[in-house]
Amino acid sequence: GFLECIEVENFKSYRGKILIPFKRFTAIIGPNGSGKSNLMDAISFVLGEKTSSLRVKKLSELIHGAPINRPVANRARVSATYRNEDGEKTEFSRIIKGSSAEHRINDKVVSHAEYTKEMEKINIFIKVKNFLVFQGQVESIAMKNPKERTHLFEEIS
């Protein structure tokens, strides 16, 4: 399967609803500070990544306008459409309401545990993060100390 598109709504520098399609090999380009890494944060957020890896301290700071104390809404949402080998669509969504996040699969509210289980069925293990490389992290991956490397293997197995 693959990630067909994601829709962001009032997430970080994205105001209103914006749909972003993806192909097999897609590049995100644009000037410094335009919002490229924020799009990666949106993908990580919808997969269940914890707030501290998204360069903020609290969930509510992810709402558009929050860092300058002018949040445009009290909610923000990211939805990801996943299409499997057989062509079936599943829509995963995470919605920020105040200081907590709601999880939905095909628009039905589910628990965090259920959400993570469904993700693991399509081989997405957000705890291991063996498929995300954040900005500036690539060199430090090679320079981990031997103990940290063993720990990496423990998480994956």
Binding site: F2, I20, F22, R24, A27, S37, I124, P146, I156
Partner: protein
């Protein structure tokens, strides 16, 4: 549990050398993953050493910035291969690479995208000129706050990837 650890470790340790050779496009390149304590690898650390193409065996901290990036990517791709997720997101991994290495890494990822969907963020045209689609992000002033706007360009309709650059 130890069963799982050994299975994962052995898989990645055998895979990483092939990936590193493919990434550097050079069969003299070598990558070794080894347990500090072969009896019980999960108790101690794991060492990782690379022999950059054309060079001799030397400790990892002797490598240059660009050489470390290629070594790190080999590890990332080998580990991913054990439990492959359906897609990959890579944010400016090409920052320390010279144009030759950018070409090699971009080619490797294009090949990999046949099996695993790849989404990359890059500032360098040499890196993104082989892709299927471009997502362009630009800042726009809305109500006194800068917001991100998006344009997309599907490149699969142009006959040759090389043409992509003229389309932009």
């Amino acid at each position: 549990r130890f069963e799982h650890f050994n299975q994962c470790f052995d898989y990645v340790a055998t895979k990483i050398d092939d990936i590193y050779k493919e990434l550097s496009r050079n069969n003299s390149a070598q990558a070794f993953l080894g347990p500090e304590n072969p009896e019980e690898p999960y108790l101690e650390g794991t060492t990782y050493n690379c022999v950059a193409p054309g060079k001799r065996f030397r400790p990892m901290d002797n490598l240059s910035g660009g050489e470390k990036t290629v070594a790190a990517l080999a590890l990332v791709f080998a580990i991913h291969d054990y439990q492959p997720s359906p897609f990959f997101v890579l944010d400016e991994i090409d920052a320390a690479l010279d144009n030759t290495n950018i070409g090699k890494v971009a080619e490797y990822i294009k090949e990999m995208s046949k099996k695993v969907q790849c989404i990359v963020i890059s500032l360098k045209e040499e890196f993104y000129n082989k892709v299927d689609a471009l997502v362009g992000i630009y800042p726009e002033q809305v109500d006194g706050c800068i917001a991100s706007k998006v344009v997309t360009l599907d490149l699969t309709c142009y006959p040759e990837a090389g043409d992509a650059t003229t389309a932009i």
